[in-house]
Every structure is written in structure tokens, then in C-alpha cells.
């Protein structure tokens, strides 16, 4: 069955997006890319140092679509400046907007994110906003021209899984854009669950970067995301509270 996944005019075969932060060494990145089968990778522009001989960008295979993120931004203006700088430095026109004003839990600021989305989408960026799963905010981002929305499963770096499940369900049902679950996924089973639910893709970093064997974990996520997607396409059977009789109860009516 063909199952195209298109973002910003680009057709992707993998629904697993990965990150570049938190690794013990940058040289792990190409190996993780390979093991995960991922085609989209986020990179924090604040960490990119063109003058360094260990520049993070040089470790990312050319085949990857770069998704520079605006991590560190605390206002829409900062996010916009970072996005423009990323584009000017040749990192392409995709951007993950991350505006965080809460350093205690690192929860995103949806209002500022909407503002940044409006500005950058109007400038022709492929905008993927990271957000708290709030329906009206997601719809505003859609209206502002976002290419997808990226609600969190639970706070970043916590590996707690899909704590926002009910809200994700609503977003998936109501938003026309691809919904990419970003942050909080700690286990392959949780990635599969998000995909079964109908998420278009998942983005994760900590779960792979901090695993004992990051490469094995990357391939576990590759399989889990593919399995979850297949299950979604196959259409999950209905869940019944009590066992249902295999012969219909009204069969006698003829």
C-alpha cells in the first residue's frame, strides 16, 4: 500500500525524526541516522559553531533534511532571528520553532510560537512548531501557515511517554496538518502507540541519545514507528469491554 508522507513538498519514507543533542560524541550521529532510517534531523542552531573543527553539521549525512530548531529562544522575535540566521547560513528553509519561557519544565509558549509561525511562514519557511497540545493553538498555527504541528507527549527529556494522550487524540482528529508527536517518548512501544493513534510521525532524541546502546535503540524505534503506522493503516479492531459472541445475537431474525 502506498503511504506517502509529504512535508514542505518533500516526500519522506521514514516517519521517525531524530535529534542531534545529548550524544556523548558527534561521531555517533551518522551511525544513529543509519540505524534509525530517519530522513529528518533537528539541530539546535545555538550549538552550531562554524569556526569549530567539530562542527555538528559536518557529522550529518548530506541525504538528511535538516530541521534547524530555535531552541534557546524565549520570544517570537528571537525564534525568527534564529530561523533567518539558519537560512542565511545555508541550512535550508525548514525550521522547528521552539519558544520556551519556562526553564523549570521547559514547556513551550504557544502564544509566542503562533506569532513566530505567522512571520516565518509568510517568509516562505517550512514551519514546524513545537507546542503544548492545545487545540485552539494548533488551529491557529495551521491558519498561520505551519507545515505540521508538533505537540509534546510529555515534557522534554523526561522519557515519560504519552501523558497528553487525550489531547493528542483530539489534535489528530481535528487538525488537518500532519501531527508529529515531539518530546517525552521514551520507549519504542510509546512511539508505536502514537503512530497507532494516527500521528503522522514522531520526533525523539533523549530516548536514543541516552540509551545504553544508542544504535540498537535507534533501530528499535525504526521498527516501532513502522509497526505503529502499519497498525494505523490496517485499522485497529474495536475494543470490547465484554467478550462478543461470534455468532450474531440477532441471527435468528433471518
Amino acid at each position: 500500500m502506498s503511504d506517502p508522507f509529504v512535508i514542505g513538498g518533500r516526500s519522506l519514507s521514514s516517519r521517525l525524526f531524530i535529534g542531534t543533542g545529548k550524544y556523548s560524541r558527534n561521531t555517533l550521529i551518522p551511525e544513529v541516522v543509519e540505524a534509525s532510517g530517519s530522513e529528518v534531523i533537528t539541530v539546535a542552531l545555538r550549538r552550531v559553531d562554524p569556526n569549530s573543527n567539530d562542527n555538528i553539521i559536518s557529522h550529518i549525512p548530506d541525504s538528511m533534511t535538516l530541521l534547524p530548531n530555535t531552541s534557546g529562544a524565549r520570544t517570537a522575535e528571537e525564534a525568527v532571528r534564529i530561523a533567518r540566521l539558519a537560512k542565511a547560513s545555508g541550512l535550508g528553509n525548514w525550521v522547528k520553532i521552539e519558544v520556551i519561557n519556562d526553564q523549570k519544565y521547559l514547556l513551550p509558549d504557544n502564544a509566542e510560537t503562533i506569532r513566530a509561525t505567522e512571520i516565518l511562514a509568510a517568509e516562505g519557511f517550512v514551519v514546524l512548531p513545537y507546542m503544548s497540545p492545545d487545540l485552539s493553538a494548533a488551529l491557529r498555527m495551521q491558519k498561520a501557515g505551519a507545515a505540521a504541528v508538533m505537540p509534546l507527549g510529555s515534557p522534554i527529556g523526561t522519557n515519560r511517554g504519552l501523558k497528553t494522550l487525550e489531547l493528542l487524540r483530539i489534535l489528530i482528529a481535528e487538525v488537518e496538518l500532519p501531527v508529529i508527536v515531539d518530546a517525552g517518548i521514551g520507549r519504542p512501544s510509546e512511539a508505536a502507540e502514537a503512530m497507532e493513534l494516527g500521528a503522522a510521525a514522531v520526533l525523539l532524541n533523549t530516548a536514543i541519545a541516552t540509551a545504553r546502546d544508542p544504535l540498537l535503540m535507534a533501530s528499535a524505534f525504526r521498527d516501532a514507528v513502522a509497526a505503529g503506522r502499519k497498525a494505523y493503516l490496517a485499522g485497529l479492531g474495536p475494543v470490547e469491554e465484554t467478550a462478543s459472541a461470534s455468532s450474531p445475537l440477532t441471527g435468528f431474525l433471518g
Binding site: 560524541r25 559553531d49 533567518r84 519561557n101 519556562d102 526553564q103 523549570k104
Partner: protein
């Protein structure tokens, strides 16, 4: 109401006799909790927790790795001037000591910056003694202008300033403020700070909050451990951090745990902080404030630093000289003796050998005019 009032209210429940009331079960109960409160903080700083360091360490390490990953941010301090009008009984820069004082000229700042930037470091912390005549805000601004050419982040560790002055510095491109209270216990504070404006306890205590209000991205606080009962000092430091974190969620609050080091004069506080105690403090900070940056200075010996990198620390200084112009000139007076004299390269190699990635650049102040 500022932290002074909060600390005052907390002070009624904290006394030397209280630490013995906790047992191992209390520690385990606190370790099982998701959100720790001030009671848990006391438990984690108590002697009972001193017997549970391994359990605390395991949890602290996993919290640190999941929130910060396998990375360590590196920075270097740059001493700009050692003129000081205060007399603090524990510092070589104290006004009572007679030595040729120095202050870097703009050309010297540039040369130091070149030397430090050549090591790869992109985050710098500038320090001065406390003198509004020798190192006024205008001088700091001039230095920052030069440093911005070389570094993506510049922080300051200078005398407490007004909110307006902090704003001016922020406008000039400073993004972080480090300001240690030194001693939270007010009476001891007054004894150790004999002369000069630093004597005004509250002016110092409220300064980090003025920094938060002025909009610095990062505000780093700490107690100089070894001046008074470390359990109490660590307790008030962590509560101060929590207070700032709650009130200024947009600001990243960091902690340092500097231990008192030998210096030019002689001072013995009688409050030794052992390695074991230092570890307990760092662990308690991490567990109580899972997202706070924790800085480890070169005051600590290399062997100990190499262990502490796994226990909650997220930022380290490297390639340090505590003399004015110490990266390009000879013969200055160090503020205190450092213990870990390794170069940036050596520290990076040590981190890599421990499966940690040294990060030289972690933020960029983008100029609004350009983008």
C-alpha cells in the same frame, strides 16, 4: 517581598540541632517523590542522607543525563581587574593587601580574548574586584564590546549593580550574571566582610533577583562553602535558587558549589567541607532542582572533578587563570589558588574519555539589527 523575607521565615525552622531528626526512611521517602519540597531538601542535606549517597547519586545521574544528555558545557573566566575597595577576610584581592593592582586596557582585553578563543571556547565569564571607580559599568561595557567579537556568550561576575545597570549591560550584550552570596548566615557574613560596600548583606542578596528582572538569560548563584555550617548554607542556596526559579520562570537559574581555597592571607573558618560533604551538596542540588545548571570550578582538584562530572554537574570552567591578564601575561596575583590547571584541550579529552561531549558554544546572542 524578596528572598530576604523568605529566608528569614525559613530561618526559624533551620538550626544546627534539626539535622539529626531525619533517618534513612525519610531519605528514601524523599527520593521516591516526584517534586521535592523544602522538607525533602533538608532531608537530603542531613547526616542520614550522608549514608545514602549511592542511591542519591544514581538518581541524580539519571536525572542529569535525561535532562542534559551526555554533554558538558565549558567556559573560561577572564579576570579584567583586581582593584577592590572591600576587605573580605578570605580573599587575596582585599584592599588591605598591598600588591601592584592591574586592570586590562582594551588592547590587552583583545589579546586575552584572542588567546582564549583560540582554545575553542565560546562562552566567557568576566570578573573584576569590586571598585566602581576602577571597573565601572562603562569600562565593563567597553570590554564586552570587544569580547562580543570573539565569544557567543559573555557573563559577568562583578560587584552587585542596580537593575538599571544590569539592563545597560544586557543591552551591551551580556547574557549571564554570576553572583555568589558567599555566606547566607547573616551574622557570619557581617564578620567576614569587614569593610566596604560588600558589608551590606541585603544589597548582595537581592542582586540576583535584580538580574532576573533586568532580563539576563542565566543567573548563577552560590555559597562559598566552608565559611559556615555547610548544611545550612546549601539549604539557603537551594531555596534561593528555587525562589528565583518560581518567580522568574523565563530565567535559567544555575548553582555553583565553590569550596573555600587557600589565598594570600590566612583565614580558617573552622567549617571544613569534606569531599563527601561536597558530593552530598551537589546531589541534593540536582535532586531538588532537576533542571538547574550546576557549575564546577577549577577550585576542585582534577581527580575529584573527574568524578563529579557524573553526579549532576553540567558546566565546568577550563583553562583557568585567576590572575588579571593571566592568559597572555606573567606575574599577576591570583585571587585564589586553582587546583585543576588543565588546559581546555586536556579537559575535553578527559570528558571524551568519560563518554561526555564537551560543548564550547551553547548560545548565541543574535544582534537584532542584523537578522
Amino acid at each position: 517581598m524578596g528572598f530576604y523575607e523568605t529566608a528569614h521565615a525559613l530561618g526559624h525552622q533551620v538550626n544546627a540541632g534539626m539535622w539529626g531528626q531525619f533517618n534513612k526512611e525519610d531519605v528514601r521517602r524523599s527520593l521516591r517523590k516526584e517534586q521535592l519540597d523544602e522538607h525533602d531538601l533538608q532531608v537530603l542535606l542531613s547526616p542520614a542522607a550522608g549514608d545514602c549517597l549511592e542511591e542519591m547519586a544514581r538518581q541524580a545521574r539519571s536525572l542529569t543525563r535525561s535532562h542534559f544528555g551526555h554533554v558538558m558545557q565549558l567556559f573560561t573566566p577572564m579576570y579584567l581587574a583586581d582593584f577592590c575597595i572591600n576587605h573580605c577576610t578570605y580573599c587575596s584581592f582585599s584592599s588591605i593587601y598591598d600588591f601592584p593592582r592591574k586592570k586590562l586596557s582594551p588592547e590587552e582585553v583583545r589579546r586575552e580574548a584572542e588567546a582564549i578563543a583560540a582554545t575553542g571556547i565560546r562562552h566567557i565569564l568576566i570578573l573584576t574586584g569590586e571598585s566602581r571607580t576602577e571597573s565601572p559599568v562603562s569600562y565593563l561595557k567597553e570590554c564586552v564590546r570587544i569580547l562580543k567579537e570573539f565569544f557567543s556568550s559573555v557573563s559577568i561576575e562583578v560587584n552587585p549593580l542596580s537593575e538599571g545597570e544590569y539592563k545597560e549591560l544586557k543591552e551591551a550584550g551580556v547574557d549571564g550574571l554570576t553572583l555568589y552570596q558567599e555566606v547566607y548566615h547573616e551574622e557570619t557574613y557581617s564578620k567576614l566582610h569587614v569593610k566596604g560596600p560588600k558589608k551590606i548583606y541585603r544589597n548582595r542578596l537581592d542582586a540576583p533577583e535584580r538580574g532576573c528582572r533586568a532580563g539576563f538569560r542565566v543567573v548563577n548563584i552560590g555559597a562559598l562553602l566552608g565559611m559556615y555550617d555547610w548544611r545550612q548554607e546549601a539549604f539557603f542556596t537551594a531555596m534561593h535558587a528555587r525562589y528565583l526559579q518560581d518567580k522568574y520562570p523565563e530565567c535559567e537559574i544555575g548553582l555553583s558549589a565553590p569550596r573555600f581555597r587557600p589565598f594570600l592571607g590566612e583565614y580558617d573558618s573552622g567549617h571544613i567541607v569534606t569531599d563527601r560533604a561536597l558530593v552530598q551538596i551537589i546531589l541534593a542540588y540536582r535532586l531538588f532542582l532537576p533542571r538547574a545548571g550546576i557549575t564546577l570550578s577549577t577550585r576542585e582538584p582534577s581527580a575529584l572533578r573527574d568524578r563529579l562530572i557524573h553526579l549532576g554537574v553540567t558546566k565546568m570552567s577550563a583553562g583557568v587563570s585567576t590572575e588579571v591578564g593571566g592568559h597572555t601575561q606573567q606575574g599577576g596575583t591570583p585571587q585564589f589558588e586553582i587546583s585543576d590547571g588543565r588546559s581546555v584541550h586536556e579537559i575535553s579529552e578527559m570528558l571524551k574519555a568519560n563518554s561526555l561531549q564537551p560543548v564550547y558554544k551553547d548560545w548565541d546572542m543574535l544582534d537584532a539589527g542584523i537578522y
